[in-house]
């Protein structure tokens, strides 16, 4: 079983690849039911943001164990323009390009842990985790 998937994100087709790989890995890690779709959806959002706002980057999906908890870890990384005001970007409905502004806050709702670090002009890294119940 592959415990890590690295998916370069350059075109919108890569978004589909990323969420499919995420679903498969999540299944291998023991997730089931609606969690699989929840994880795939969160991956879809962060991968799309890479295309929409940073042109290209990558998504890395790994087994995300911590202490006694077992789960999945998704990292979305790009070297795009970065986000000047992260707090604002995390607000529900905030979008700089006429989107719904749901991607970031929505992904946070879908996952158990959500971390974003971004430096204007240098890029954005989002790390999110979901634990098995």
């Amino acid at each position: 079983m592959a415990n890590e998937s690295r998916i370069p994100i350059r075109t919108t087709a890569d978004i589909v690849t990323a969420r499919q790989k995420g679903r498969i890995l999540a299944m291998e890690l023991g997730f089931d039911g609606s969690d699989l779709t929840v994880i795939a959806t969160a991956i879809s959002e962060v991968a799309r943001n890479i295309i929409d706002h940073a042109k290209s980057g990558e998504v890395i999906i790994t087994r995300g164990n911590q202490g006694g908890k077992r789960g999945i870890c998704v990292v979305a990384h790009d070297s795009g323009p970065g986000i000047a005001d992260v707090e604002q970007a995390m607000q529900y409905g905030y979008s700089t390009r006429n989107g719904l502004g749901i991607g970031l806050p929505g992904a946070k709702l879908l996952m158990d842990e959500f971390n974003i670090s971004s430096v204007a002009g240098q890029g954005t890294t989002i790390t999110m985790r979901k634990w098995r119940h």
């Binding site: 779709t37 959806t41 799309r48 989107g99």
Partner: protein, 172 residues
């Protein structure tokens, strides 16, 4: 992959066949716009049974399609949203406000036929403001009374007429 569009009487049926990329979705919008105009279709069913994920982009596109088709006189109903997909959508805060939904193709046709439209109609098209505040977790909605629990028949005027012909023919 381009979504095939079938013509059935007054209606168009677009069956999404595989996982859609963003480009496919945009292509679908253009194809539907074109055909609704050409055939003067009164209703459009978009069957998304095979979609494994409906994220904010897909939702936005589906809503935009419905909105645009409405301006051209056709009512849109999305059918086949799977249980897990629906659940993930609402957890993400996505709804299909203003777009009809039905369980599957059969229900979708019935819906367009007008028999069931009171049951499945979502609230009427909201403004962008509505889109943003429509999240179930949002607080401080200002338009409460407006959407209070009255029967879901706000979109009566969307009623597109009844099914006429049941044979399927290719739209093109």
């Amino acid at each position: 992959m381009r979504v095939p569009i079938l013509k059935q009487g007054d209606y168009l049926i677009a069956s999404v066949q595989s996982v859609l990329s963003d480009d496919d979705l945009q292509l679908l919008r253009d194809d539907l716009a074109d055909r609704v105009g050409r055939f003067r279709s009164r209703g459009v069913i978009i069957d998304v049974t095979v979609l494994d994920v409906i994220d904010s982009f897909a939702t936005r596109t589906l809503r935009a399609i419905a909105h645009m088709l409405k301006l051209r006189g056709a009512h849109t109903v999305i059918v086949g949203i799977q249980p897990d997909v629906a659940f993930a959508m609402v957890q993400l805060g996505l709804t299909l406000a203003g777009v009809g939904t039905a369980l599957d193709l059969e229900e979708g046709l019935e819906y367009l036929g007008g028999r069931a439209h009171r049951l499945h109609e979502h609230r009427s098209f909201g403004s962008r403001e509505e889109d943003r505040l429509g999240h179930p977790l949002r607080t401080g909605r200002h338009s409460h009374e407006h959407h209070s629990s009255r029967p879901r028949d706000e979109d009566e005027n969307d009623h597109p007429g009844h099914a006429s012909q049941r044979s399927l023919e290719y739209g093109q």
